[in-house]
Amino acid sequence: MKLFEYQAKEVFKNGGIPIPESKLADSVEEVVDAIETIGLPCVLKSQVLRGGRGKAGLIPFVRTIEEAKAEAKRLFASEHNVKRLLVEEAVNIEKEIYLSVTIDPVAPSAIIIASAEGGVEIESLAVNDPDKIIQEAIDITAGIQPYQANDLAFRLGFTDDIAKQVKKVIFGLYNIFSSYDAELAEINPLFITKEGKVIAGDGKLMIDENSMHRQPNYERTRDYYDSDMEFEAAQEGIPYLQFDGDISLMCAGAGLTTTVYDLINYEGGSIANYLEFGGPNYRKAVRAMELCLQNESKVILIVTFGTIARADVMAEGIVDAMNRLKPDRPIVTCIRGTNEEEAVRILKEAGLDPLYDTEEAVQKAVAIAKGEC
């Protein structure tokens, strides 16, 4: 679960990492109020989960109250679903550092990544000038050792007081990474100010989905999703991605669903939605079909090849869903796996024409979507 910047910064602050003075605002009026405390110039930071906010113009720097009002209005009205702005003091930046903690799956260990050249171009730096990226493996059981934070600070080129502050930030960030069961804890940029202070300019914190039971402070509200449909699906625990094509996928298993997605593209089709109802969701055919029907798709393509999920149970679910929902568009099925003979019987009885070959099913769905059959 990816937190919003303002949430990540709250965590950072509580973990001893300095952050700029800031106030959250969810209207132009609140932005004006916030500026009374924060002062001008300041930065209006759109609280959206997508990356590349700067390049998309979602973090304007404003010098006057008029400019602030205009920009706030623009952002709240934008297509980017901006619900909140973080009004943040403008900092006198001397230098920008990159700092993050994530998992190295090969080692396996946690890994701290840092660069004296922080900012938006860090990823291309990693490819083009990898020597400028500093890495330090951390034993996840023993945790970070002081000498490691020391060494990182020195390798970043700092000494004296700045080194001490940076060391404290590294320690803090690692401990947050650890106690929040994070996939990623990132500060980019970490500002070194002209006044010699070390302050987190941005904050990214992604909590491991499998550890959310240990992180009860965060609930996935609608804010975390790009669309109502994705939010609804997530409430059901159904993996779902929204697109705007013609074919609704209703498949089982991430790998197979992704492959069907590829095959549709190869055949010149387009996808309305990605949906998995496999694994523990294999009894949720009704809910899955309901989600598909909310799309303006032309056909629903159902492909499964179940292991534990029994084919006959899925077939029953599909027939049940059809009876209840009376779908207004054709359904193509390709259901294989345990008890598939029974599944075929059930589907045929319901008037469907079950297929056995994934590519055949894909081709048929694409043809239907194109109005070719």
């Binding site: 996939e183 491991d208 590829d262």
Partner: protein, 294 residues
């Protein structure tokens, strides 16, 4: 013949009295797996499929020789169960659990390494040597997928494995050993770490890899092929060629992998190392034939 497990591998089942544990234990035995007993704390004295249940791994291994542990244990208890198996001296562990906390999976992999053990999973159906033995949950009765033969299969996926393996079998081949590495970001064992076993297995002629976008496991296989440490033919199928850039791990993930992880990159690496990558599951069988003919 087979790798990881065969008819003679003595398997201890942790979580044997649970619904899935008891169900699949029976199926594992049906296929020929030598299940020697199971563990469920507090249930010592019971039996499952005629096999004795013990309070703990230690009590079980005090009574029986055990080569491998099959875990039917919920994700939040998996770390403890793996640690218990390792402490009991067991060197082969398979865990099917889907949802193991990421940081715990790192600890599991590290602990296994320090014990010289191998953990397969989580988020996998397990390991099967068709006709010989199985640890996990495979519908081995579907013989157009689980036909014995001479092709090794390694996979990160579930349903897709059935899809692809069916194409291998349709092309006239069968499977020697299928290893479900699992779909988690930190699997206990990585593709490349299984290669030495396939390399040394006389009954495996070629290996099919079922991969997908993300991570560097396929690139590591390419490295082993390129440096000669793996010499058998490799055909890969990779899901996600046309996938949109989804939710990403931010900069750090890309930095750790040094820009690797795209399907294009994987195809390039595998091809450069002499492997063939099938664009569609249907093509896997033909590519296998092509490589084996060389």
């Amino acid at each position: 013949m087979s790798i990881f497990i065969d008819k003679d591998t003595k398997v201890l089942v942790q979580g044997i009295t649970g619904k899935e544990g008891s169900f699949w234990t029976k199926h594992m035995m049906e296929l020929g797996t030598d299940v020697i007993g199971g563990v469920t704390p507090g249930k010592e004295g019971q039996t499952v499929a005629g096999k004795p249940v013990y309070h703990s791994v230690r009590r079980a291994v005090a009574e029986h020789e055990a080569d491998a542990a099959m875990l039917f244990v919920p994700p939040r208890f998996t770390k403890d169960a793996v640690f218990e198996a390792l402490d009991g001296g067991i060197k082969k562990i398979v865990t099917i659990a889907d949802g193991i906390p990421l940081h715990e999976m790192v600890q599991i992999r590290a602990a296994a390494a320090s014990c010289g053990a191998m953990v397969i999973g989580g988020n996998t159906s397990g390991v099967i040597s068709p006709g010989e033995a199985m640890m996990g949950m495979f519908p081995y009765w579907i013989d157009r997928v689980y036909k014995p033969g001479r092709i090794g299969v390694m996979t990160r996926s579930g349903s897709l494995t059935n899809e692809v393996t069916a194409m291998v079998v349709r092309a006239g081949f069968g499977v020697s050993s299928l290893i479900g590495i699992g779909g988690d970001p930190v699997p206990g064992t990585r593709f490349a770490e299984m290669l030495p076993l396939y390399e040394g297995d006389e009954s495996t002629d070629a290996v099919v890899i079922i991969g997908e976008l993300g991570g560097t496991m396929e690139e590591e296989v390419a490295e082993a092929m390129a440096d000669g440490s793996f010499s058998k033919p490799v055909v890969a199928f990779l899901g996600g060629r046309t996938a949109p850039k989804g939710k990403r791990m931010g900069h750090a993930g890309a930095i750790v992998t040094g820009g690797k992880g795209t399907v294009e990159g994987k195809i390039e690496a595998l091809t450069a190392a002499g492997g063939l990558v099938a664009e569609r599951p249907r093509f896997v069988g033909d590519l296998l034939k092509e490589l084996l003919r060389r």
